[in-house]
Subunit: 150 residues, 2 copies
DNA sequence: TTATAATTGAGAATGAGTCTCAATTACAAT
DNA sequence: ATTGTAATTGAGACTCATTCTCAATTATAA
C-alpha cells in the first residue's frame, strides 16, 4: 500500500485552504504534469490526457494549469508565438535556459555566481527582485556542426 | 537642407538588397518607431500613426515591424498575455530589464560582468550563444514603499 | 508607355486562451 | 441516507493578437 505522493498532498492542501475541491479531473492533470520531465504546452498535455483515456476538457486543463502555477508546483517558462511553455517546478531546482535556434532543444543550467550577481544588480538599483528568467539563444553543439558542414 | 537620417538609410538599403521598396507607409512606421523612447506594442504604434494622420494599415504595421526586427533596428523585448513588446535597438545599447510586478515599470540596466559571465557559462556548455534576455521581476522602490504602508 | 513584381488595406481567418451556463458532483449538515 | 449549497465541469461561444487573402494600387525597369 503506497503513500499518497507528496505533490498530491501539496495540491489538495492548497485547494482545501481555498475551499476548492480535489476532483478526479484535477488529479489526472496533476499526474500528467508531474510525470512529464521536460517543458510542455497545455495543448500537448490535453492530448496526452485524452490518449490516456482520462477525461478532462481543454478548459479544465487550462484552469488546472493556472492553479498549479499558483500553488508553485509548475511554472511558466516562456511565451512563444505558438503558446505558453511550462515546466514542473516541484522537485526541480531553479535553473535558466540556453535555447537552440537550430533545433529547439534546451539546455538547463544553474550558476550560483549568476544568481549572486543578479542580487547585487538589484541592490544597486534599489529593486527588490523576486524571480527572474534568463534565456540565452544560440546554437547547440549538434547544430554548430551542421552549420560548419554547409 | 538636412541629411537623410541614418536609420532611413539602413532600412532602405536593407530593403533594396532584398528587392523590396521603401514606401511611404514603411517610412511613416519607421519614423514612429524611431521617435519612441520606451517599450511599445504594435497596436499602440498603429493608433499613434493614425492619430498623426499618416496612413498605414494595421497589416502594414505588423508587416513592417517584422522587417524592422529582421534588419535590427528594433527588437522584441518580451511576449505578454496582451501582446508583444518591442523597443528600438538602433542607438540603444544592449541592456536587460527589471520589471515591477506592482506598477509595470521597467528599469533598464547593463552589466559587463553579467555579459562576461554568460559567455563563460556558454563556453562551459559548448553552446554558441548569440543573444539573450534577462528579466528580473520584483518591486521597484515606489512599490516597495506602498507595500510597507499596507 | 508597358510589363512585371511588390505593396497595400479591408476584412476574413487563425489559434491560444477565456468565458458562459446548464448540468453534474462533492461536501457538510441534518 | 437525504438534502441543500456551492464548486466544478465541458461544449462551444467568444476574445483578441496576429496572419492571411486577394483585388486594387503603385513603384521600377525596360
Ligand atoms: Mn527548464
Ligand atoms: Mn528596454
Ligand atoms: Zn540545436
Ligand atoms: Zn513599481
Amino acid at each position: 500500500m503506497r503513500e499518497k505522493p507528496i505533490q498530491k498532498q501539496v495540491f489538495s492542501r492548497f485547494l482545501k485552504e481555498r475551499g476548492q475541491r480535489f476532483t478526479k479531473e484535477r488529479s489526472a492533470i496533476l499526474e500528467k504534469t508531474m510525470s512529464r520531465n521536460g517543458h510542455f504546452e497545455p495543448e500537448t498535455l490535453y492530448i496526452e490526457i485524452r490518449k490516456a483515456g482520462a477525461k478532462a476538457s481543454r478548459a479544465s486543463v487550462y484552469r488546472t494549469i493556472s492553479l498549479l502555477c499558483e500553488c508553485g508546483l509548475i511554472e511558466q517558462v516562456r511565451k512563444t508565438e505558438h503558446g505558453t511553455v511550462y515546466e514542473r517546478s516541484f522537485g526541480h531546482e531553479h535553473h535558466d535556459h540556453m535555447l537552440c535556434i537550430g533545433c529547439g532543444s534546451a539546455i538547463e543550467f544553474y550558476s550560483d555566481k549568476l544568481e549572486r550577481l543578479q542580487e547585487d544588480l538589484c541592490r544597486q538599483q534599489g529593486f527588490q527582485g523576486t524571480t527572474h528568467t534568463l534565456e540565452i539563444r544560440g546554437y547547440c553543439r549538434k547544430c554548430q556542426k551542421k552549420k560548419k558542414q554547409t
